[in-house]
Structure formats: structure tokens, C-alpha cells
């Protein structure tokens, strides 16, 4: 890519991020852990999701919704994380890895359950490979409803954690 075609690619669309909702319009006003105010690092774990939630997470951190401007960031290690972002029903194979990931996180730590499957297993309820909902394995602090939850809903939930 030459410099000029790159510069055109940057300049033509301009800023694509949508204007943020006012903080007072958000439903959740209370910050669950005050030490995490302004900065929340997230470790995402797919515990058996259909990947619908993952696509919405990617959108939430993409240029249009841009969750990073509110102080949330995805990280590569549970040691760096403040909150665990869990999607999907917890399958039998993922129950232990999920619990071990949570154990690897330093205090204070939160659990965000993402999507309807994480709350009540959704369409996978009663499946032979399903251990249970996220709440059966870990204590859930915040739940994001939807199948899949919209990127806007994910951003709102994360703003509830960072208080921004």
C-alpha cells in the first residue's frame, strides 16, 4: 500500500465511531469494584458459545462502537485481567479451564456473563455436553442479556464497570 492510497483510506471515511450515550442515560450507575474505576482489563473465555457473542465482542471493540475509549481493553493473560468475560453455556470440557482461568486472576476480580446462554444455557439447555450456566461454575457479577447481545449493550455493560 503506497502512502497516498493509505492516506486516502484514512481520510475518506474520517471518524466512524458513533457518539457515545450520556453516562446518565445508562441503566447501571453503580461501579461494582471501585479500584477498577477508569481501567478494566478483560480476559474473554468462550466456554462453549456458538461464536455469535464473539462476533459482537469484536464489533464492540471495533472502530464503530470503540469500547476502548471508556477504559476497557481485552488482554491476553488472566494475570493481567480485572474481569472475566464469559460467553456461552459452560460445556463439560470447559468447566475446569473456566474455573482455573478465574483462579489465575488477581483480586479484585469480576465475572461478566455474556448472552442468554451464559445465564440459562439458552437453546443448549439440557444438552448432553452442557455442564450448566456460567452461574453454576462462577459467581456472576454482571449479566449482559441478548442472543446475541448487541455491541451497544456490551459497551454499556463495560461502561458500568469502568464508570466512564
Amino acid at each position: 500500500m503506497s502512502f497516498w492510497s493509505g492516506a486516502r483510506t484514512i481520510l475518506r471515511p474520517g471518524r466512524v465511531t458513533e457518539t457515545a450515550r450520556r453516562r446518565s442515560d445508562l441503566e447501571q450507575a453503580r461501579v461494582p469494584a471501585s479500584t477498577l474505576r477508569g481501567s478494566v482489563q478483560l480476559r474473554h473465555v468462550d466456554a462453549g458459545s456458538c461464536n455469535g457473542c464473539e462476533m459482537e465482542v469484536v464489533s464492540a471493540f471495533g472502530p464503530v462502537y470503540d469500547a476502548e475509549r471508556f477504559g476497557a481493553r481485552l488482554v491476553a493473560s488472566p494475570r493481567h485481567a480485572d474481569a472475566l468475560l464469559v460467553s456461552g453455556p459452560v460445556t463439560r470440557n470447559m468447566a475446569r479451564p473456566l474455573a482455573k482461568t478465574f483462579d489465575a486472576m488477581p483480586e479484585p476480580r469480576l465475572v461478566v456473563a455474556l448472552g442468554d446462554c451464559a445465564r440459562d444455557c439458552g437453546v443448549f439447555h439440557g444438552g448432553y455436553g452442557v455442564e450448566g450456566a456460567v452461574g453454576d461454575v462462577l459467581a456472576v457479577d454482571v449479566h449482559v442479556a441478548g442472543c446475541p447481545p448487541s455491541p451497544g449493550a456490551i459497551v454499556d455493560a463495560l461502561r458500568g464497570l469502568t464508570g466512564r
Binding site: 474520517g14 466512524v16 465511531t17 481501567s39 481493553r73 488482554v75 494475570r79 493481567h80 488477581p106
Partner: protein, 320 residues
């Protein structure tokens, strides 16, 4: 050099420099992320985000591996100590820093390398596969970048007949034609490549990657948590600010304080901040236009830097 030792002044200068680099380093990181975000069409996190991250990390629990030795704990401490040491003694705000007579350019390179070595040892100490992989990659890149840097330092020091860092900056101030000499320009080009490699920026390493297999520097710190991670973050960002600060003061020394005293220190701080901000924005803009090099192509890039530095030495010797 003939002035009597002024301990209070030296402490003031060193403290001011450490403060400016310690706070400015994370802010520089935030500024570079902001620049990248803006060019990607995002709003991006605020410039002070790395400072918020560090403040939070200091309040978090520290987890250390049960099977780890003292090396794991020593890694972040040695890293931040070396950064603070160089920040205190390098010619950043003034051409007469504390212990300026002993601030040798070669010595600064070795002290900064000590921090990288201890970070790699701490990564190996955990015994995790990613830690070992990151350590081996970082050491490989370091082994290729350091010779280029040392030869570039040699090219810098030939025209000035000294490798004393404050003297090099003073030389640039008093003889501006030295800065534009071919030897210096070649050495400066090599220095820029090495700064990118040493601070883990594109095209050598992607600082914002989440994929463990593509990580170089990030893979080394995957096991650090809480205050340990905060020290690593501050130490690394200070090192980036230091390398950029030395780069701009060697290539564009104007604005740096030549006298002692509060007022000239403030002027020096403003000049340094302005120059480093421009350099940081330039690097972040360059990063938007470039992709990470394949790992096996890196020796070519760093060998190119080495050749540039060597040409700089030859040119400086011929022009002498």
C-alpha cells in the same frame, strides 16, 4: 567541568528528569495509542489511560508462581531501576545532568540491556511455554540489534572524540554542522531502527497483539500481575521515552537547557516534551502504514541497520 560539586543542584536535575520521564513515558504510550486510534477512525482511549492502568495495577493483588525463584521478582525491579538510573543521568532536560561526566553512551546501552536481560530471565523463570518463547525471541532480536546500536554509538563518538553522552549533545549544539554530517545521518538511521526494535514497536513487534504466537515482548510478561506488571509497564514506557529523548537530543539538540536552575529546567522539559511528542506521533503514524515483519525477515532489517551504522563509522573516519 571546573565547577565545584553542587549536590543539591544535581539531585534537583536528576529528580526532575526522573519525574518527567516517569510520568511522560506512560503519557507517551497513551499518545501513540491515541494517534493510532485517530488514524483508524476511532476515538481511542484518553492519553492518560496508561497512567490510570498503572494506578489500578498498584492496587491489585500480586500473584507470583509457586515454583518461581527470586528472578521472577527481580525482573520488574531491575527493569525499572535501570530505566530510573538512565533517566537520572542522561542529558534529557539539560546538557549538564547529574553525574554527567560518567554518562557514557556505551554505558547507557549496557544498563538498558541489563533490564531487558532480567525481564527475559524472569520470563524463563516461570517455566511456561510462552514465557520461554518470548524470552528466546526477545534475546534473538536483542543480539541482532545491540551490535548495530554499539557501532552506531561508535559512529556518533568519532567526530566528537568522546562517547560521553552530555558532551555529544553539547557538541551538536556548538557545531551544528556535525549533526548534518553523513556519518551522523547514517548512524542516526541505524539508531532509529534499533529504537523500534528495542522498544517492541512495529515492524519488529506488535505492541497491541492478543495472539500469543505472534508476541515477542508481550509473551515475556504474561505471568506478571498487579504491582509487578505496573513496574514492567512503567519501566518499558520509560525506556521508550528515554530512547526517543536521546534520539531527538542527538539529532535536534536545540531547546535543551545549558545552564542549571529551575527556569532553564522547565524550558528544557517543554522542549524535550515537544520534540518527543512529535517523534512519538511520527512513529505511531508510521505504524499505521506498516505491517509486522515476518520473524525470519527481522535479521535482514537489523543487519541493514548494522551496515548503516558501519558505513557511518567508515564515513566518520574518512571525514575526520
Amino acid at each position: 567541568m571546573t565547577a565545584p560539586p553542587d549536590v543539591a543542584g544535581a539531585v534537583l536535575v536528576a529528580g526532575a528528569q526522573i519525574l518527567v520521564v516517569g510520568v511522560g513515558g506512560p503519557l507517551l504510550l497513551g499518545l501513540m495509542r491515541k494517534t493510532r486510534s485517530r488514524l483508524e477512525g476511532r476515538v481511542g482511549p484518553p492519553v492518560r489511560q496508561p497512567l490510570l492502568d498503572v494506578r489500578k495495577l498498584f492496587a491489585k493483588q500480586r500473584i507470583r508462581p509457586q515454583c518461581g525463584s527470586w528472578l521472577f521478582a527481580a525482573g520488574p525491579i531491575v527493569l525499572i531501576s535501570t530505566s530510573v538510573m538512565v533517566a537520572g543521568t542522561a542529558p534529557l532536560l539539560t546538557t549538564r545532568p547529574a553525574l554527567g561526566q560518567s554518562t557514557d553512551f556505551f554505558g547507557v546501552v549496557f544498563v538498558l540491556l541489563l533490564g531487558s536481560v532480567f525481564l527475559a530471565l524472569a520470563a524463563l523463570d516461570t517455566g511456561t511455554p510462552f514465557g520461554g518463547m518470548g524470552a528466546s525471541r526477545a534475546t534473538t532480536i536483542g543480539a541482532l540489534a545491540e551490535p548495530a546500536l554499539l557501532v552506531a554509538v561508535l559512529a556518533f563518538s568519532i567526530p566528537a572524540h568522546t562517547s560521553n553522552l552530555p558532551a555529544l549533545v553539547r557538541d551538536g549544539l556548538s557545531n551544528p554542522q556535525v549533526i548534518a554530517s553523513p556519518g551522523r545521518i547514517l548512524a542516526l538511521a541505524a539508531f532509529v531502527v534499533v529504537v523500534l526494535a528495542e522498544s517492541g514497536r512495529l515492524p519488529v513487534d506488535n505492541p497491541s497483539t492478543h495472539l500469543e504466537l505472534t508476541m515477542i515482548h508481550e509473551a515475556m510478561v504474561l505471568e506478571h500481575s498487579g504491582p509487578d506488571l505496573a513496574l514492567v509497564t512503567v519501566g518499558e514506557s520509560m525506556r521508550l521515552a528515554l530512547l526517543l529523548g536521546l534520539l531527538v537530543n542527538l539529532s535536534v539538540p536545540w531547546g535543551i537547557a545549558t545552564a542549571s536552575g529551575m527556569a532553564s529546567l522547565v524550558v528544557g522539559a517543554v522542549a524535550l516534551a515537544a520534540k518527543v511528542v512529535l517523534a512519538g506521533i511520527a512513529i505511531a503514524t508510521f505504524e499505521v502504514f506498516t505491517a509486522k515483519l515476518r520473524l525470519f525477515r527481522l535479521p535482514e532489517l537489523l543487519a541493514g541497520a548494522f551496515v548503516l551504522a558501519l558505513l557511518g563509522v567508515v564515513t566518520a573516519l574518512v571525514a575526520r
